[in-house]
């Protein structure tokens, strides 16, 4: 077997093309640097690969999910929970669900566009509650980059002057939908704060390259038509490709970061999934953005004389402190909305309102907060429509007639129409405490189809997260009651089922596995996402996070990747790299 070495030497070799990799590629290429992106999945162009505005009948499975598209047949993300030939393992008695997008742009092609800045407290949690660790940076360090990401990418929302949910540069949000007005009512009675959501969707034009939202509610299909939502492909990679400074190598599964005698990174070796040949590409810097766990796997698999415990891992923290957002949810129906008038309420692809964390943990039995996301209303029918009607049509009178549950025929058709559009649901997304023992490491016995050793996960929720989920569920129950809704699922929570707390990994906000810190003995990266042990190696995805707040992490990944990329350029100018 022969290893093919590319002759071209790049300023940066970037592994991964999602939020972190896309932003690094964009920032560096726009400044004139030569960049190579290695992407483990297929090429994908939202302008060519279209699922937007398709009708359910155009899919033979009517939008149902498959292994290739776990979020549905029109969802824009390739792969997810189960990637062919790429297994992972778990320590006995532990759970971890690992989402892996395999395509250019990664999961940004389908994500929820919930774009929340961290607040000042989110960087200093240990100082507040004594748990976990403080970041080596604070809000003021990141604020200028959040501001620039807001303006570059575009986001709607409102300035509310909240201490830990900072203001930004927001486009106008859309008005709440009908069910959202009922949620507001219920929340007000329960004392839950509701504000307009903050999504990276353009409600107004911000430049000539992108259009504006036309309210089809399909951001998860990626906005092929108007480029009005943020995806790494539409907003960063394809615009940056126009500079001519980027080469993309798709279907390139990174095997190892290569290092020299001095322990510096020289490039990346990878297998091309198309021809199954081994390749090497070299660069002045190596930037990992393969997703928290993949980047850590790559570091752990990059052992050398100078880095015997894996690259950037003299501290032994790589793979540790793995944590996901907590999640619990509940759904039901709003009887007020039975038999409702029909009109188009697709709106943007996601909620128009949300609840930032509104309570003081000093008065609660768990640390850290959560935000609440909402949904409901008259959405496009898809596989699963009307499922379990027998649980509804015997419970509520239909147009004044009490029926027997189940049934068939004309009467049943009336029921489907009657209940359509009356659903409502909510989900909490909270902050977990990163723990030293919650980790992924290299499984000593298992390799993937490319011969690359795979990750073995060992993650357990602590009492903190379980109690947080309990609070979520109790809050949801109360809000549902206060808005007049009847709970139809998610109401069965108790100690035995961890109060409905989703298994870790399920919320797809994994972070912390190569965390930044001031002390090289207890962290892998410094405050510029630069490896303590290898100065020309950077990690710009969720792995760098010391903690992840009760905020979805994408906006912070983007801001930190932009910041790290500018640091790289300044260090290059100073001849330090």
């Amino acid at each position: 077997m022969q290893i093919k070495k590319q002759s071209k030497h790049y300023d940066a070799v970037i592994v991964g093309s999602g939020a972190g990799g896309g932003m690094a590629a964009y920032t560096l290429a726009k400044a004139g640097l030569k960049v190579c992106i290695l992407e483990a999945g297929a090429m994908y162009d939202p302008q060519q690969n279209i699922t937007q505005l398709k009708n359910p009948w155009e899919s033979p499975r009517r939008g149902a999910s498959t292994k290739f598209r776990p979020f549905g047949d029109f969802d824009a993300c390739y792969y997810g929970w189960d990637v062919e030939g790429e297994p992972y393992t778990k320590a006995p008695g532990t759970e971890w669900d690992w989402w892996r997008a395999r395509m250019l742009g990664g999961r940004t092609n389908h994500w929820g566009r919930i774009s929340l800045r961290f607040g000042p407290k989110d960087f200093k949690r240990r100082s507040i509650d004594g748990l976990g660790d403080d970041w080596p940076i604070g809000y003021d360090d990141v604020k200028p980059f959040y501001d620039r990401v807001d303006k570059l990418i575009g986001i709607f929302g409102t300035n509310e002057g909240l201490e830990n949910d900072p203001d930004g540069f927001f486009l106008p949000p859309p008005k709440p939908r009908l069910h959202e007005l009922f949620i507001k009512k219920g929340a007000a009675i329960s004392g839950v704060k509701i504000i307009p959501s903050r999504l990276s969707i353009l409600t107004k034009k911000i430049n000539d390259d992108r259009g504006v939202c036309f309210f089809c509610g399909q951001c998860n299909r990626n906005c092929s038509m108007a480029k009005a939502d943020f995806s790494s492909t539409n907003v960063l990679i394809y615009p940056a490709l126009a500079t001519g400074n980027i080469d993309i190598i798709p279907n390139a599964m990174a095997r190892e970061v290569l290092t020299n005698e001095e322990g510096l990174a020289t490039g990346v070796s990878y297998i091309n999934k198309d021809d199954m040949m081994e390749y090497q590409v070299t660069g002045r810097t190596v930037i990992l953005a393969a997703s928290a766990c993949e980047s850590s796997r790559l570091l752990l698999n990059s052992k050398s004389k100078r880095h015997p415990n894996g690259l950037a891992n003299s501290s032994d923290v790589v793979g540790r402190y793995l944590h996901d957002s907590t999640g619990a949810s509940m759904g039901g129906v709003l009887p007020q909305l039975f038999d409702r008038k029909r009109y188009n309420e697709d709106g943007v692809g996601g909620m128009h309102i949300y609840s930032p964390w509104w309570l003081d943990n000093k008065k609660l039995d768990f640390p850290r907060g959560y935000h609440i996301e909402y949904w409901g209303g008259m959405s496009q029918p898809a596989y699963g429509f009307g499922g379990g009607i027998e649980g509804l049509n015997g419970k509520f009178a239909v147009r004044g007639t009490q029926k027997e549950a189940g049934g068939y025929g004309k009467s049943l058709k009336e029921d489907y129409r009657y209940f359509y559009g009356a659903s409502v649901g909510m989900a909490g997304r909270g902050e977990a405490i990163p723990l030293y023992d919650n980790r992924c490491e290299i499984d000593p016995n298992v390799v993937d189809r490319y011969g690359i050793p795979v990750l073995k996960f060992n993650v357990k929720w602590s009492e903190h997260e379980i109690l947080q989920a309990k609070h979520m569920k109790e809050t949801f129950d109360e809000m549902m009651h206060n808005m007049g809704a009847i709970v139809t699922w998610g109401g069965d929570y108790n100690k035995a089922n961890n109060y409905g707390l989703e298994s870790p990994g399920k919320i797809i906000h994994e972070a912390g596995t190569a965390r930044m810190g001031s002390d090289p003995k207890t962290s892998a990266l410094n405050k510029y996402n630069q490896a303590h042990d290898c100065k020309n190696l950077f990690v710009v995805d969720g792995a760098a996070f010391t903690s992840q707040a009760d905020k979805n992490i994408t906006w912070t990944i983007l801001a930190l990747s932009m910041r790290a990329s500018e640091y790289i350029m300044s260090e290059m100018k100073k001849q330090n790299l």
Binding site: A76, P173, K175, L178, M225, N344, D346, F385, E404
Partner: protein, 218 residues
């Protein structure tokens, strides 16, 4: 199309029903010409390979099973003053595809159809598809209402719940079904908030803050 016409089209009317329930012939899947599926929306490479394989498999259900599914589907969703029937919306074809796509449906569906036939055989001496409409409804009435169904028919109730769900999935995601529901979206528009008359109906209004801050279109 009514159920009898559907049967005629399928070529499995009463005259072909000499076998009691199953036959060796009945186990042979309907063979379709193999052709590459056409998609007007994005398919990744490995995904397309699987789609081709699903199509190439040919029908999962036998002619007789399809006939039974068609009758049951049209009992669940018949034509009414608003819209057509399940078979008008090609729901049986959808069901055949979805059981290939989701193998977890295969045993419960095949077994459930056989359960129905065996019940009919015991009660009426014929498989379901050959029973009179009255007999068919008599059987359906026994399993379509979970809370009052006889306990000993619980397997039939489970089957009917599953079938009802699949029929609803297939029908309300068809062009006919989406129109029936009155779903108005999936088209470029400008969201200007809940229509005034609807706000009025529910005695709701937007706050001054919302009216000031939110995007509006004239």
């Amino acid at each position: 199309m009514n159920r009898r016409e559907t049967l005629k089209l399928l070529g499995v009317g009463a005259i072909s029903g000499t076998a009691l329930v199953g036959s060796s012939k009945a186990q042979v899947p309907v063979q379709k010409e193999q052709e590459d599926p056409v998609f007007n929306y994005d398919r990744a490479k490995e995904e397309l390979a699987r789609e081709k394989q699903l199509i190439a498999q040919g029908n999962f259900f036998t002619k007789e099973e399809m006939a039974t599914i068609t009758i049951l589907a049209d009992i669940i969703i018949p034509k009414d003053e608003v819209s057509g029937s399940a078979s008008d919306a090609k729901v049986p074809d959808f069901i055949d595809f979805i059981v290939r796509d989701m193998p977890q449906h295969q045993v419960p569906m095949r077994g459930g159809l056989r359960w129905v036939d065996m019940q009919c055989l015991k009660r009426f001496g014929k498989p379901f598809r050959e029973c009179t409409e009255k007999q068919q409804i008599e059987l359906v009435d026994l399993i379509a209402f979970p809370n009052k169904a006889p306990k000993e028919l619980s397997q039939g109730v489970s089957f009917f719940n599953r079938l009802r769900n699949l029929v609803a999935s297939g029908f309300y995601t068809s062009e006919i079904g989406v129109e029936d529901l009155g779903y108005k979206g999936n088209t470029p528009n400008q969201w200007n908030g809940v229509p005034d008359e609807v706000l009025k109906q529910y005695n709701l209004s937007y706050t001054k803050k919302e009216l000031k801050e939110c995007i509006k279109f004239d």
